[in-house]
Structure formats: C-alpha cells, structure tokens
C-alpha cells in the first residue's frame, strides 16, 4: 500500500519537476507562470495589455498569412457553388427586382417625409462616413465568434464602433491594436443588442446563439412574430444608433429566431462606423 503511494508520488514528482536535457523549463514552473498570466489578465494589468497588443499585431498578420490557402479554397468552393445556382438565382432575382422597383417609389416618398419631419422636431443624426476595412481572419472559436480587421487605432478605429456589411449590422469593435482590431459578431453567445421588431415597434433584446442566427429574448409580452417582421437596432443604451437593419424573423429555425441579413461566415469587407448620432 505504502509502496503504491510512493510510486504515485515519484511518478507525479518526475512528471512535474524532472527536466530532460532538451527541455528548458520544468512543467511546474510553466504552470505557475501561466496561472500568473491569467491572474494578470483578470486584473487588466497594463503591462499585459501592451504585451498583448504587440503579440496581436504580429500574430494576426501571421495567422492571416497561414490561413490564406484555406480561405482561397473556401472562396473557390463558394464561387463554383454560386456559379451552378446562377440560373435559378437569376430568375428569382428578376421577380424580386420588379417588386423592389414598386416599393422604391414608396420609400423615396417616405424618406423625404421622414427627413422633413426630423427637421421639424429638430433631430439631426450625424453619422460618420465609416472606415472600410478588410477582414483578415474570420475565426469561429468554440467560445467566441469574432473577426479580425486590418484597421486599427492608426486609422481612427475606437472601441465600441459598429461594424456593418453593406448597411446591415454585423458586430462591434471590442479590441483595438495599432494596425488591427477585433470585432465581436452579433452571432456570438455573449452578444446582446437592444432591438426593435417592426412592424409594431416591439422593444426587445437580440442575443447571439453561437450559430449563424440570433434569438429574440426578454420581450415584455409573449410575442408572436412571422417572417414579415424585421429586426432593427433600437438605439437603447446608446451603444448602437437606431434603425440599423439586422435580420428577419424565421421561426423555422427556432422560435423567435432571427436570420441575419448578412452571411457572417462570408465577410470580406466591412465598414466600421462611429456612433455620432447627436440628438439636438
């Protein structure tokens, strides 16, 4: 019995403390060092922050370079897939264009009327032009859904800026380095956005699911939506300006699921925009 315990202790001691000739560090020393790093990260220690920015700059570029062949392969597959669906897609698009042309006339009228009414109530939304940025890496980790962009503090990117693809909301800047930045996607589990569901102006929260769709949560009443309901940012909380389109309700995926307008796995170029909606 005592011998068995001794063997166990010897094996453990050997595993953690013994270094072979080629090993520079013992396992135990490295484990303590990593715990120390986690502790410093948790405290948001300023030194760690600058070291991280330095490592980020180098790693993002290296990672983008290494991921390049795989990304190109993925793009090629998407290209051929789109090519074979072109005929069907063209026919559907023609029908859609007709519908949209009809709607456009109404929208122009409503837009002008909206502008006029805003002038009357004295609201002046100043929205920055935006910084066009290329997506360097679109990693989908187990826990975080984020993208790395090739614009950083050098180009005027700041924390909290919104990330748009076309005019659809796709994420928000959560980390800024000198020449790169990271944006959390709206599909991330940790993403919660105040939204309004139109028509009806129902205020709610859109939460990410970690998949390619979101869900409407924390609504005041038991709501019933269908695919005609569109989800926009509500502007509550001040993190996002109001009226940014996000997606439409699709109950086929899940109850109160929101199908995003943008395909978050296919982002190539995005626009980073600051929130300068000055209410006068």
């Amino acid at each position: 019995m005592a011998s068995g315990r001794d063997d166990f202790i010897i094996a453990i001691r050997s595993a953690f403390l013994k270094k072979s000739n080629k090993q520079q560090f013992s396992l135990l020393a490295l484990i303590f060092f990593s715990i120390f790093l986690i502790f410093l990260s948790n405290l948001n220690f300023i030194g760690i922050k600058y070291i991280k920015i330095g490592i980020n700059e180098a790693t993002y570029r290296l990672s983008a370079l290494i991921s390049y062949p795989e990304k190109k392969l993925s793009d090629s597959i998407n290209f051929f897939s789109a090519y074979f669906n072109a005929y069907e897609e063209n026919r559907n698009l023609k029908i859609k264009i007709d519908e949209l042309n009809n709607d456009k006339l109404n929208y122009i009228f409503l837009e002008n009327e909206n502008k006029r009414l805003k002038e009357i109530v004295g609201e002046n939304n100043q929205i920055s032009e935006g910084i066009v940025s290329r997506v360097l890496i679109d990693k989908e980790g187990k826990f975080l859904r984020s993208i790395i962009l090739n614009k950083g503090s050098k180009d005027g990117v700041k924390l909290g800026m919104v990330v748009l693809e076309k005019n659809y909301l796709v994420g928000q800047i959560i980390e800024v380095n000198y020449t790169t930045s990271r944006a959390i996607l709206i599909s991330d589990l940790n993403s919660n956005i105040p939204v309004v569901v139109e028509p009806g102006s129902f205020q709610s929260i859109l939460s990410g699911t970690g998949k390619d769709y979101g869900v409407i949560k924390y609504s005041k009443d038991q709501l019933i939506f269908d695919e005609y309901n569109i989800v926009y940012t509500s502007g509550s909380g001040g993190n996002f300006r109001s009226g940014l389109p996000i997606g439409k309700i699709n109950n086929e995926i899940e109850n109160l699921a929101v199908e995003f307008f943008s395909d978050l796995s296919q982002l190539s170029y995005v626009k980073i925009q600051s929130l300068e909606a000055a209410e006068q």
Partner: protein, 166 residues
C-alpha cells in the same frame, strides 16, 4: 545520396510535430471545424498529448506554452488560458509516461479522454467564472467526443510517419 535522404527525412520528422502544432494554432481550423456543424475537434490537444507521451523532447514545454499564448491571441481569449490548458494535457501525458512500461493505444486513449475532459472543464471554468464568457456546453461535449475518436486515427498517422528506430 541515401544518407542525405535519410538526414532530410529525419530533419523533416524532427520539426513536423512543432510545425503542425503552430500551423493548427494559427490556422483557421485550429480548434474547430465548425463549418461541418457539430463536427469539431481539437487538433492541438491530440498533437500535444501524443508527442508529450511518445517523445517529450520533440516539442519542448516552452514551445507548447508559447503556442498556447498564440492560440489565446488568435481566438481572443484572455492571455494564459490556453497555455495552462495545454500544460495540463502535458501533465497527464507525463504521468502516464512515467507509470507505463508497455505502451498500449487503448490505455493511452483512455488517459487522453480523462485529460481532455479535465482540460476542457478547466478551460470552461476559467472562461465562464473568471472572465464571464458564456459557453455552449453542448458544443464542448461534441468537441471532446470527436477529439477522442480522432485520437486513434491521428495516433496511427503519427506512428506511420515516425521513422523506424526513433
């Protein structure tokens, strides 16, 4: 000529696990092949466990520690988390190496399963309780299952690639 060929092959083999580890950490498919739904596996776990068990001098502990830092940076995790998780995997492998006289793939894989269960639990605990990051546990379980199942395949491939007599 043949000697040169053997030398080249040995050199290639010497750096192969390290290159594969860094490539998988820095590449898009480092931790998940999420495009296939729930089919996701952790290649760095397999590489680290296998080589720490078979030949710990092939990839140094320090280099594995650095690969963890790079993984944290690329995935946006707090610095030190992946390094710590990788080191726990090495601990299991080192313990198994010390107590094993006759290696057996099934015993190895059983310890590997315990190691990845422990490592993922530690990872999830640190991320959710210390840093408040929300986690989808169902995905983690799927990831653990596929990582465990694919260990047999990768162990066979690595065995096949290892030059005889090393």
């Amino acid at each position: 000529m043949t000697l040169k060929k053997i030398n080249f092959k040995n050199k290639l083999f010497k750096y192969f696990p390290l290159v594969l580890l860094y490539f998988s950490v820095l590449n898009e498919f480092d931790i998940d092949v999420t495009s296939f739904g729930l089919l996701s596996f952790n290649l760095p776990f397999i590489i680290i466990f296998y080589w720490s068990l078979k030949d710990p001098d092939h990839i140094g502990n320090g280099l594995i520690f650095i690969s963890g830092i790079l993984n944290d940076v690329t995935l946006g995790y707090p610095i030190g988390v992946s390094s710590f998780v990788y080191l726990t995997i090495i601990s299991f492998a080192a313990y198994l190496r010390n107590i094993t006289l006759r290696p057996n793939i099934f015993k190895d894989s059983l310890v590997f399963l315990i190691a990845i269960l422990f490592a993922n639990s530690v990872n999830a605990l640190i991320l959710s309780f210390v840093f408040g990051i929300q986690i989808n546990f169902f995905e983690i379980i799927a990831n653990i299952t596929f990582t465990f199942l694919l260990y047999f395949l990768f162990a066979r491939i690595f065995n096949f690639l290892t030059p005889k007599g090393t």
